[in-house]
Amino acid sequence: MTQTITIDGVTRIEGHAKITIHLDDAGKVRDAQFHVTQFRGFEKFVEGRPLTEMPGIMARICGICPVSHLMAAAKACDDILAVQIPPTANKLRRIMNLAQLVQSHALSFFHLSSPDLLFGMDGDPMRRNIFGLIREHPDFARDGILLRKFGQDVIALLGGKKIHPAWVVPGGVNSPLTEETRDAILKEIPAAIARVDRALNYFHEIEDHYPAEVDAFANFPTLFAGLVTPEGLLEHYDGALKFVDHNATPVAELSLSDSSHYGTLISEAVENYSYLKFPYFKPRGYPAGIYRVGPLARLVVAERCGTIRADMELGVFRTRLGRAPQSSFHYHWARLIEILFGIEMIQRLLQYPDILNTHIRSRARPNRLEGVGISEAPRGTLIHHYKIDENGLIRWANLIIATGHNNLAMNLGVRQVAERFVDGNKLQEGMLNRVEAVIRCFDPCLSCSTHALGQMPLRIELCRSDGEVCDVLQRN
């Protein structure tokens, strides 16, 4: 008698998804799947719109990481215009992209994932959320909220608003940085670094408390992919897309000046149980070409970060976990290191003498009929690919979203953690929380601005093959 457990919807992630766990006659896990149940259709409904509107439209894909889509869309438009954007615009875009990284990572770590880490995977769900965190760990929660605020404020100072700023445009940005704004951001940096230092110290203390989770949270060898600078350092905006294997040995590298050839490395498969496609490393085929992106992958792919504090922390990370940690549980730590890197790099970029330059936009008409933009979103590599007609109207678009790259790994991870923790004979909340928590490690953004914060109703039914419900677990 086979049974199926459904977790619908998965909480404390961005977007809508459900998980099904199939049990065999003995109540042991036979299979598990992660279903993305929402469908957006952006690739279809941008058809016919003018190229110059793309950054503004594509940013609407998400309320959490709009800047990432702004960047990739603007870069695809730059490619079609065939322009080199002014150096100051390049730096300003980088600052906004890093600010997005900081705020999104802070949201993922502090607001969504840290309740599991601070209260335990089996902790009372009534406490195990951001409000419990504020009540019982107010200083920790405040640091998280203020770190996110730092990132959001930088975005608003540059682009006029925190969500969906229309500041990044094809050819550059549409207004220069003022001295007052630069100084206002620089003034906040020491406090932001102190906050992430405190969080890292805290994480060092609790990281050892979860050996079972480290062992079973999507812990398997895969390829890793991410952007690197020409020197092999951590990169989020330009450089080259690099694939390494589970030992961090380089497998392939694609310079972003040849970004239109991304199709030689990445292809997309479709499964009938999810609206999210399954990208894979093309030379190895499907599904053997499984790879991971995001903070952990970027730290594996990069030789080092390139900023002092982040490199010191990366040293600790690698000393404890090795050069290429396989468990996705370590995404959390990698995320904190990237927050540190982001703040340091924002400081460095703001100190360039040309940062206040007013030449911030290159203007051109479309000079190509096709363009590709690749950048790093907080969750991983983001690819926008557009084709236009001779009048500059979009005729075709393909988006490979960061979360998509991790889809194969998330599915395998759900199965691994279900096999380890779920006993079909009697459901316990903590078991299923772990199944969700492995997904949260990847911080998936299911192309949506929904914020569940543990409030989304969760109902898990354990059904016999004849449809009779033999156990129910309900969370409101």
């Binding site: 016919g48 719109r49 003018p50 509107e53 950054p55 439209i57 229309a166 445009v169 500059g392 109207l393």
Partner: protein
């Protein structure tokens, strides 16, 4: 030479309870605005002929059972006009809601976001939702012109562009085809704008357009600002010459 006695007759009327005097031949809209009484409009633009198409300026006149377009109704002696009754406010909201429902006005990603008369009107009339089902028509963007773009999705058919093109520029490149919801702005004999032989590329149509329907090519979201101030000046200078 100035005549010894003025032939312009002076009238007295009441608008929203306020006693006002004006010259004969003036419209209710002109007189109201001269006296700081706001009547909303979208198709009206000083310097162009009156069109009376948007119906936002409808007012009540005591003794008349129907509503009157303030832009197209001249004042009369003893007229008692009401410009902001609950009925009028409700009708105005309904008109603007229907404009939003008729085509695809997606403010958030529109190049005129923040600088749009339709958007401002919705805010002014305190419209927080649209009661009518959106039609979501499939409408093309004409991006064939070198410098300008026509997005039919954002057009409210105020025909300011048609009037400025014919009356001020004298080209009459633009006109309207079709009827009802199928009506649309066209160029010459319904050709792509870029192929028009009469368009002088003066850009007046772009600057008088109240929404993001007519814009400069290459503008991104929220970047399109219009400069319609040229129109009264141009009209005045031409009148002075003739």
């Amino acid at each position: 030479m100035r005549p010894a006695t003025s032939t312009v007759e002076s009238l007295t009327l009441q608008i929203d309870g306020k006693d006002i005097s004006c010259r004969s031949g003036e419209t209710i809209l002109q007189v109201a605005r001269d006296n700081n009484i706001d009547i909303p409009t979208l198709c009206f633009l000083e310097g162009l002929t009156v069109w009376g198409g948007c119906r936002l300026c409808m007012v009540e006149i005591a003794g008349s059972p129907k509503l009157h377009a303030a832009c197209a109704t001249t004042c009369a002696e003893g007229m008692v006009v009401s410009t902001a009754s609950p009925r009028l406010k409700e009708y105005r909201k309904m008109i603007v809601e229907m404009l939003f429902a008729e085509r695809n006005h997606v403010c958030a990603v529109c190049v005129s976001n923040g600088h749009c008369e339709l958007q401002n009107m919705a805010v002014k009339l305190e419209i927080d939702h649209v009661r009518f089902p959106y039609r979501f028509p499939h409408l093309e963007v004409d991006n064939s012109h070198d410098a300008m773009r026509l997005d039919q999705n954002r057009c409210i058919l105020c025909v300011r562009c048609v009037r400025v093109c014919g009356e001020i520029e004298g080209a009459h490149t633009k006109d309207v085809k079709g009827r009802g919801v199928l009506a649309a702005i066209i160029h010459d004999l319904d050709q792509p704008w870029g192929e028009s032989e009469t368009c002088t590329a003066c850009g007046k149509c772009v600057n008088v357009c109240p929404t993001g329907a007519l814009t400069h090519r290459g503008t991104a979201v929220g970047e399109m600002t219009k400069k319609a101030q040229f129109l009264p000046y141009l009209t005045l200078m031409r009148e002075a010459k003739s």
